[in-house]
Symmetry: C2
Amino acid sequence: MKARVQVMLKTGVLDPQGEAIRHALGALGFDGVEGVRQGKVIELDLAGDDAAAAEAQVTEMCEKLLANTVIESYKIDLS
Amino acid sequence: MKARVQVMLKTGVLDPQGEAIRHALGALGFDGVEGVRQGKVIELDLAGDDAAAAEAQVTEMCEKLLANTVIESYKIDLS
């Protein structure tokens, strides 16, 4: 089964990449961009079809490797 | 309104970041990870409530700045 993990900086944590994108969009003439946040998305192909087991495993992956939970939050979607 | 852009390397394009994650997950003892792809997610806060106009604007942003369409594909979700 497939899992999609989205890792974003927590609200309140400064996001220089997002700010750089916002400035670049402004420089290119795109108006009305009020805020930009950039994060990562990680798509995993997992063996097995047990959704509950997969979710538990992916949560552990996030806590141990994929996200820095001090400053980042993560969201898991299984499909 | 809010737009979420997901930018991934196209199928067939080598993804060294994804491969690095797959190796690291294996080294941490996570079995059954058959493939990993890593991409970017960009969340935009846009002025205005016109979904069609927003989608057109974000598509142009992707073509001009957010994605390298030679090797990357993008997906736009509005909410």
